[in-house]
């Protein structure tokens, strides 16, 4: 199969970018989307030009590095997959495919399809942890956690930190990302002692980073490759409100 690609090319943050067209030919529908970009890049490199820069690593949907907006949708047309798990069988022969970076003020562009997502690390740094040092905590089975609760915490913990939720949101809000971590830790008994300070600190950092507010359009949930539920946002709002009231 053949595709016409319109790819966002931008040398660096200081230089204006533009869409550049490439013809990707003789493709196999079983190729992954990034393998298609590899093939195009080999052709670009063979001409001595600079290949399209894009973030990627594990190529199995877990590291969260890959981050393309494909035809207007973060991670492309399929539900609950990352860019690297998108296969060409999701497209039709002859399609035009537009490829852009995850765009948000809090994710400054670095080059082509690569953006800076260190804001997410700073949000975790503000409180996305349980303050236990390495040492000799009690035996793991001394604190049973009801299975439904543990499963729910795992649902939230599955977030891969890719930032698709931000890229999809018209407000570039990071609420789903922050809510996933707040919920993962606040649901567990181990995380309970810090639940107020965690919610306050992480939301505060999110605001400082320049992410927008949530207007509940749920576009974040729709594009999340791990299917993180927006109900965690409601849970975080509850935790945040409670923390505000108890810690005026």
């Amino acid at each position: 199969m053949n595709l016409k690609l319109r790819v966002w090319r931008q040398k660096n943050a200081a230089t204006p970018g533009q869409f550049v067209e490439y013809h990707a030919t003789d493709l196999n529908p079983n190729m992954s989307f990034l393998e298609m970009l590899d093939v195009v890049n080999e052709q670009i490199a063979a001409r001595g030009e600079e290949p399209i820069a894009f973030d990627h690593d594990c190529r199995e949907g877990i590291c969260g590095a890959c981050s393309c907006v494909i035809n207007g949708e973060p991670h492309g047309p399929r539900d609950k997959v990352t860019t690297c798990q998108t296969y060409l069988r999701s497209f039709r022969d002859g399609d035009t495919v537009t490829i852009e970076p995850f765009r948000a003020n809090a994710f400054p562009l670095i080059k082509d399809l690569v953006v800076d997502r260190t804001a997410f690390d700073r949000i975790i740094q503000a409180g996305g942890y349980i303050s236990v040092g390495t040492g000799h905590p009690p035996d793991a089975n001394s604190l049973p956690v009801p299975k439904p609760l543990a499963d729910l915490a795992m649902d939230a913990a599955a977030c891969i930190g890719c930032g698709a939720c931000v890229a999809a949101c018209k407000n570039a809000s990071a609420m789903l990302f922050v809510a996933a971590k707040v919920s993962h830790l606040n649901l567990l008994p181990q995380g309970a002692p810090e639940r107020d300070v965690r919610a306050l600190a992480m939301v505060d950092q999110m605001d400082k980073e320049g992410f927008g507010g949530c207007t509940v359009t749920l576009s974040c949930e729709a594009v999340c490759p791990k299917g993180i539920s927006a109900s965690f946002i409601a849970k975080m709002n509850r935790d945040f409100l409670r923390a505000m009231l108890l810690n005026p």
Binding site: A45, E50, A53, D116, D121, V132, T134, P137, K147
Partner: protein
């Protein structure tokens, strides 16, 4: 080259206590005077950085990725072993120790492995306290599953995302220390040289991947936690960024490289589907708890699996290894798969695949139970192959997965270069010639949380080597060399891409230094690889420049190092005239095709010393002695 393993005297089970008793300590108010450089932020690096910072040391952590959370530990699916014996099925520290030694075919260091088994129980407690959402029973207590090479259930897991959850645990612990100002994190930064001053590792030279700036960091000790090198095969289950560069540069500065030919080929990966393929995807070994491996009995049987009756199927693992069945260890399972495919009984395109069939388990347990256990893996399989494994068997084939070899370290996890510590997959110590499933996560966290933080203090307390200034002559010289290499790569402007050379190297190694090796093939590879390397340095094309993000340039430097490593792997495989674990030399096999070890001549770790580009490396040995686990034939029958 002096290789003193510093194994404490006394009985094996008491060695770690003895070591801890004798370690010199650094007083709390002195710890903040020491600066430690940690390179790599996977399980080993992040857990070490967090723990060292908690102790009061100042830590700098470096990673290639845009965030430490993306290190390739994140991709481990199945689980982490620990000798908790929560299942009351006869597990113990001794049994985990023995399984690991035997799994490694008696080519690992006994004292290290015992310590690993001993601290395994602390890891689970630590991670549970951090909020790692391990799988639980309805009672609220932790649950377990089985992995290959063990007859007990000792593997803890978090769905199919155990590596991710454990990594997030230590990443968060590290970021907590960053919040407290104890850790400084340098993402998108690649270590390109180790700096040795007065014989001690005292710093690193790094390149900022966004600006191309080359700079130095001086420290009181350097910790390399940079993972494994199976990407040398081009196609592997590693992340695309995984590479050998950090440990290779340390090797060229004098650190011994041990057992480079011990690379694990994992039996359950999705088969290659085309030439464009960029990586191979692992299907967790945990699937073999319920999946049955088979191929048709007759060569060339092209019927769809559903049309092949039971009587025409060969469940070869159950037939050959009845005691362990489908949970035979990885090296054994991979070789068995290769053998049946070589006989023409492989399935799928090209005949390079075997079936992993869940139909019996679905009949026995029902589809919901299988979905609960492996749902995300089945989904992943379907994303890639467009096949539904609930209805038709998965097709799997072995793929390069893990490097047991790595930099040589002593019992303190310090290399022969004082001040250079190596942890996790980057070192060589714990897995011998074959790693058991769910043991990599265990080792990474054992090293980072519970071993290195003790032993590094002893070095710092006794070294009497002041930290140099990062503008010392050694740093200036190293920076100049790094910058010159970058310039050279950009100046070649040849006709072939970096990937072309990487692929070619991978083909040579897969053919001659993969699942089966022989002297003729290895000798051929030792001709081919230097020739390919020569061509690379004259004909590679690296587009772009050095002043901003240049992924071709990054990859070129890594492939240049792979081209050197590949040769050392073949040299090591050729020198080891025996078969053990994953190192299968066709000349040395038993009548039924199993590994024939030669304990009299090869019960040792082979440690290679770099002696310059013009001279062959020297092979030294660290003899391995077995007091607690007696050398025995490794049988899973």
């Amino acid at each position: 080259m002096k290789l003193d393993a510093r194994i404490p005297s006394g009985p094996v089970p008491q060695k770690w206590s003895a070591c801890k008793r004798d370690l010199k300590l650094v007083a709390p108010n002195n710890k903040r005077k020491f600066e430690i450089l940690v390179v790599g932020t996977g399980l080993a690096g992040s857990s070490a950085a967090a723990t060292l910072a908690e102790l009061g040391y100042r830590v700098k952590a470096f990673c290639l990725q845009d965030s430490p959370r993306r290190a390739h530990s994140v991709a481990a699916q199945g689980g982490i072993n620990a000798a908790k014996n929560y299942q009351n099925d006869g597990d113990s520290v001794y049994r985990l120790f023995y399984d690991t030694i035997k799994g490694g075919d008696f080519r690992s260091r006994e004292a290290n492995v015992f310590r690993l088994a001993e601290v395994s129980v602390n890891i689970i407690d630590q991670c549970a306290a951090q909020g790692v959402p391990f799988a639980r029973e309805y009672s609220g207590y932790l649950t377990n599953r089985s992995f290959g090479g063990a007859q007990v259930s000792r593997t803890f897991y978090a769905r199919g995302q155990t590596g991710q959850q454990l990594l997030l645990g230590c990443y968060q612990a590290m970021l907590r220390q960053a919040h407290l100002g104890q850790v400084q994190i340098f993402p998108r930064t690649e270590m390109l040289d180790l700096v040795v001053v007065n014989g001690h590792a005292k710093g690193i030279v790094v390149r900022d991947l966004l600006t191309g700036k080359v700079s130095s960091h001086a420290g009181d000790a350097v910790v390399l936690a940079t993972g494994g090198y199976t990407n040398v095969f081009y196609l592997s289950t590693s992340g695309r960024g995984s590479n050998v560069t950090a440990i290779w540069r340390a090797y060229k500065r004098g650190a011994a490289f041990a057992n480079p030919c011990f690379t694990q080929i994992h039996p359950t990966c999705i088969p290659v589907s085309g030439d464009y393929q960029s990586k191979l995807t692992l299907m967790s070994e945990s699937l073999r708890n319920d999946g049955r491996v088979w191929v048709p009995k007759k060569a060339g049987d092209k019927r769809p699996p559903a049309e092949i009756p039971e009587s025409d199927r060969d469940y070869y693992l159950e037939r050959l290894y009845p005691a362990y069945g489908n949970l035979a260890p990885r090296d054994i399972s991979s070789r068995a798969a290769k053998r049946v495919c070589d006989e023409g009984r492989g399935v799928g395109p090209g005949g390079l695949g075997v079936y992993l069939d869940f139909s019996e388990a679905i009949r026995r347990l029902g589809r919901p139970v299988i979905a609960e256990r492996y749902g995300n893996l089945f989904e992943m399989y379907e994303e890639i192959t467009a096949e539904n494994a609930y209805e038709t068997p998965m097709r799997i084939y072995p793929a390069p997965h893990y490097a047991m070899g790595g930099l040589w370290v002593d019992y303190h996890l310090m290399s022969n270069l004082p001040g250079l510590f190596v942890i996790g997959e980057a070192n060589f110590s714990d897995h011998g010639a074959n790693r058991l499933g769910a043991s990599a996560l265990m080792q990474g966290l054992a090293d980072g949380y519970f071993i290195l933080p003790y032993t590094i203090g002893n070095y710092l307390a006794t070294m009497k080597q002041p930290r140099p200034q990062p503008d010392a002559a050694e740093f200036r010289q190293s920076e100049a060399e790094v910058a010159a290499t970058v310039k050279q790569l950009l100046a070649i402007r040849g006709r072939q891409t970096v990937r072309h050379y990487h692929k070619e190297l991978g083909k040579i190694l897969w053919e001659h230094c993969g699942m089966a090796r022989n002297a003729t093939g290895l000798q051929r590879a030792l001709q081919q690889i230097p020739a390919l390397r020569e061509e690379f340095w004259h004909n590679v094309s690296v587009p772009g420049d050095d002043a901003d993000l240049n992924q071709s340039l990054e990859q070129a430097g890594r492939v240049a190092d792979f081209l050197e490593l590949g040769e050392l792997m073949c040299r090591d495989a050729l020198a080891r005239n025996e078969s053990c674990g994953c190192h299968f030399r066709e000349e040395f096999q038993t009548a039924d095709g199993e590994c024939q070890r030669n304990d009299a001549a090869f019960a040792h770790a082979a440690c290679w010393e770099y002696r310059g580009a013009q001279q062959l490396p020297a092979r030294h040995i660290e003899p391995l002695t077995f007091e607690e686990a007696h050398l025995a034939e490794r049988s899973y029958k």
